[in-house]
Symmetry: D2
Subunit: 139 residues, 4 copies
């Protein structure tokens, strides 16, 4: 069965459940805007993601994992299938404390062999906490 | 109480337990070699880290998180305290399937304000699966 | 003599002339918009920057150098002094052929010790050719 | 005419001359060691590459360009043809002053669609000045 493209928020939410790790991240699709190649997801702070015990601060590791995943799904929305990550970079700008994370991914290039996606991570007040840039194999 | 530097494998293993996220990664210090600024850790595959259900394949997210963490501890070994990550890059080279990960981190520069660390991720047979490069604030 | 901040386009154009390499790039300040932390510069194609002889195509090397430099000057505009680059990443999206380059740099974070800047490289028709992300030491 | 692989130092030196930009860098092949996927080149400091006038210090831009180029030729040595850069990262570790640069590039992965290369930049005394990591399209 071929997918109807671009994928809807509902269809993407379904696909997320196929991966135990993504399910563990508890990502929720907030909105899709394929006309500007953008997808927004939300991730709650789990106790397992804390940096220091009782700090309420996200460890950078799950933030990186969210960037990799949400970046991928910006391309999944357009192409209908998950794509292997070639590489990515994350820059940490401010500590993420006592907040869910809002991840906004936007495709900068959807090329024949490589797709490049920018991902901004903000807290619930809209303050930018981290930024990611990822390359995926689209061939 | 000031730490005796460089830190021993036992002391580092203790420190890892202070972070719920690192505890969740179940990282085990395999060896420290401060004279060549190198630390080796091992991480088992947890069910929560699987990419596709039943695939036995690591999702890239936890691999990135392991790179960030083990890279940090190469500097912790020398400096005695955790350091905030400025940014890092991960390149995925081969799928990681049905294997624990062996992470070897080596400090390339321990500067006054910035430390740079390379992290190689191999499977239990020594095949290289992913490589990371990370910058930490040492000031 | 202390600088009046943010720096004007004229003042930045003057400062660019102090560096033989930047002078060689022939960068021209097109506009400054400190209120949105953005600076735009233009670089013409020199014969020395060609990838293949007679191809009219920019080699990636000078594009990377332009990203590093224009990114730095987005922070110079705000802080009044050049800052050492910690590291940067460049992604090449499309070949740059028979065109001057328009570089738009925007500060994503102007922190106490680290500044992070995004740089978009477009051709004269506004098509995105490459993107850069750079960290500078602001301490 | 098909190339005999791996390419010799002489053949690579010839190929470098086809690009006006690479010719401008005055790169000289010092050695090739295809059995460990390594190539070494040397680049002299040109007046046009100075950061501040009369400083004798390399601007970071040409260092980045050298990383991109020498990294590419580590794969050219194995594959016989230039490959487009997907992206690369450079970390600056120490200022490069009054010295030629010695660039050592080693292939970390020569995959079907992506090649990954590490490049170390040292001064003539062997002190590490900058490190690069680059991805190239090999398909």
């Amino acid at each position: 069965m071929s997918e109807r493209l671009p994928l809807s928020a509902e269809r993407i939410q379904q696909m997320l459940a196929h991966s135990p790790f993504i399910e563990f991240l508890k990502l929720e699709v907030v909105s899709v805007a394929p006309e500007r190649t953008e997808i927004v997801m939300r991730a709650p702070l789990r106790p397992e993601f804390e940096r220091g015990r009782g700090s309420g601060q996200w460890h950078g590791g799950p933030i990186a994992a969210i960037i990799d995943t949400v970046g991928d799904y910006a391309l999944v929305m357009l192409l209908g299938r998950p794509l292997p990550t070639i590489n990515f970079r994350v820059d940490y700008l401010r500590p993420a404390i006592n907040t869910a994370l809002i991840a906004t991914a936007r495709v900068r290039r959807n090329g024949r062999s490589v797709g490049v996606v920018d991902v901004d991570i903000a807290n619930e007040a809209g303050i930018l906490l981290a930024i990611g840039r990822a390359s995926y194999a689209t061939a």
